[in-house]
């Protein structure tokens, strides 16, 4: 690990000012950043600790709920307002990592966590366009069982290709819930829809999000709850606990009688960002909650998927997982 300076910020303004130092990064719970520093993947000059800036509240105003960026994952998952109104978010959070890590990890940090692509995390592999732009992608011809099937960058563009996936469970639920991200920076505040927060690799797979390097996440805003009674987060993985998703599905339904009024759907483990499918969601509006409707939505959600040598199974797995998640959501399993 390279040496770094440590600074504990006591206000958002102080934090934003401090991060203007070249090579400085914000530090939340450190569960990913410190790990990557140990692997020599990240080498910040300064860490600005933002866990003491006062963003540790969850507040409900009217129908929306604002979650401070410093709220720890375990506190968010177990907060009464979240359990009652956004059980999908609770379930997704509790599907990730371990109790210890969830006690450390922050809401803002979870949004910023980086891929667990083996080739990205191991500097013994020189080729990684995410870690070293232009160096190539070791995963494309490597062991790519955990990698992306949607929105990836492959083919002839060797200097930009990237098939990494976003590892977050929380972000998948936030995408299905249509959350927005509040950020602040030297040029003021702005609000970014969750689906625009993370990026597809495009020509710059080294950049994970649309957050600027001098911007600080202050909060996550959850819109009026629609899926409190009918939601399910289904995480499919090699190990039952404490493992990243091969495929995960955040499914929410707003049901009147047996008719779907609205739906939320996002997938994890399949793309460089939480894979949100508006087409699939729209296809469910007005439909009867049934496996036929869920299968149609699943086909739409996974349309255009491109398998790699070791991950073709993810396409069918994703479809079946979508059907199962919606079926469980419709049953109101968590009631």
């Amino acid at each position: 690990m390279n040496p770094f300076q440590y600074q504990r910020a006591t206000s958002p303004d102080e934090a934003v000012h401090a991060v203007s130092v070249r090579g400085a990064k914000f530090l939340g719970g450190g569960t990913n950043l410190v790990d990557l520093m140990k692997y020599n993947v990240e080498h910040p000059s300064t860490l600005i600790d933002v866990t003491h800036v006062g963003f540790d509240q969850i507040a409900t105003t009217g129908t929306t709920t604002i979650v401070g960026a410093g709220v720890r994952n375990s506190d968010l998952a177990n907060h009464e307002a979240i359990r009652t109104n956004y059980p999908l978010l609770s379930q997704a959070l509790l599907s990730g990592a371990s109790p210890q890590l969830r006690n450390m990890a922050t809401t803002g940090g979870n949004l910023m966590q980086r891929t667990r692509c083996y080739y990205f995390m191991d500097t013994a592999f020189p080729a990684c366009n995410k870690r070293t732009p232009g160096s190539g992608c070791a995963a494309i011809k490597g062991f790519n069982r955990i990698h992306a099937i949607l929105g990836a960058r492959g083919g002839s563009e060797g200097h930009t290709e990237c098939i990494a996936t976003n590892p977050s469970d929380m972000s998948v639920a936030l995408a299905a819930l249509n959350a927005t991200i509040h950020v602040t920076g030297p040029k003021g505040k702005r609000i970014i829809p969750i689906t625009d927060f993370h990026r597809l690799p495009g020509d710059t797979p080294n950049i994970d999000t649309n957050l600027k390097s001098d911007e600080l996440i202050t909060a996550v805003e959850l819109p009026a709850p629609k899926f409190a009674k009918h939601s399910y987060y289904l995480k499919v993985r090699d190990r039952q606990s404490y493992a990243f998703a091969l495929v995960s599905v955040a499914a929410g339904l707003e049901i009147n009688g047996n008719t779907i009024r609205s739906a939320g759907l996002a997938l994890g483990g399949v793309a460089h960002k939480p894979w949100h499918s508006s087409d699939a969601e729209k296809s469910l509006i007005g439909a009867t909650a049934s496996s036929d409707a869920f299968r149609r939505a699943a086909d739409l959600a996974v349309a255009g998927a491109v398998p790699r040598e070791h991950n073709a199974f993810k396409i069918e797995l994703a479809k079946q997982s979508i059907v199962r998640a919606f079926t469980l959501a419709a049953q109101g399993v968590q009631a």
Binding site: Y6, G30, D35, P99, Q100
Partner: protein, 242 residues
């Protein structure tokens, strides 16, 4: 690591070598000198590592890293006792405990937050001390395995692990026990796990064996003592100390 403490460590080493009996009489004495030796060598290794020139890490040619170790003065409050320390900012809380405060109960397994051997309590919450930078823990109440017992009276979870033989080699045990202590507190506060959602028990989840397994999943046991660990936690849950 200052030169003074390095010298101290060398003296400790000499002392421990001198104290080593020519004919070891009891297993306890052998064990004691082995521990002293390991602690002392830990000091030496740390001192040598600090003395190394900075390793070039500019594989991508973009590094913005600084090359001189950055020292920070801080106070850590561990098991009720505050200690002032001067540490390289890179020092993990685990290394601060083990190498600087000689609290070697917390164990280093993977050092990457994947095994739970380093689990301790910070402000009553279980965390991985290997991924916690020591500088971030200033001002917090830190409790390690050494701080759970009240004198000679074991914490109920410690007693339960003994009673149920919840270990084989024992290396993961301090982390398992700290984790279980926090688990019981969390359950008293009616927290959920993914199992609660799978079983539909999201109002007041009971601490079933499946719940215990899920809630202990952040602690790996390579010996596979899981059945007895679950039994120990199940038993401790019935009589948890308030």
């Amino acid at each position: 690591m200052s030169p003074a403490s390095c010298t101290d460590s060398l003296l400790d080493l000499e002392e421990s070598l001198n104290e080593t009996p020519d004919h070891p009489s009891t297993p306890a004495e052998i064990e004691l000198s082995r521990r002293t030796f390991i602690k002392t060598t830990g000091f030496l290794t740390a001192a040598v590592a600090t003395g190394l020139p900075h390793l070039a890490d500019a594989q991508d040619g973009q590094t913005l890293a600084i090359t001189t170790p950055q020292m920070a003065q801080l106070t850590l409050k561990v098991n009720g006792t505050s200690k002032a320390l001067t540490l390289d900012t890179r020092t993990s809380l685990l290394d601060a405990l083990r190498e600087h405060l000689q609290l070697t109960g917390s164990k280093k397994g993977c050092d990457h937050g994947q095994c739970g051997a380093c689990t301790i309590l910070v402000d009553g919450r279980r965390i991985n001390s290997c991924l916690t930078l020591a500088v971030t823990a200033e001002g917090a109440e830190i409790t390690t395995i050494e701080g759970l017992a009240k004198g000679d009276e074991l914490h109920p979870v410690q007693a339960s692990f003994l009673e149920h033989d919840g270990f084989q080699c024992g290396y993961c045990t301090p982390g398992q026990i700290c984790s279980a202590v926090a688990l019981l507190q969390e359950h008293k506060h009616n927290t959920l796990s993914t199992v609660s959602f799978e079983t539909g028990s999201t109002a007041h989840p009971e601490l079933t064996d499946n719940e215990i397994r899920e809630r202990m999943s952040g602690n790996i046991c390579r010996c596979g003592a899981y059945p007895n660990i679950v039994a120990a936690v199940r038993h401790a849950a019935k009589g948890v100390r308030a």
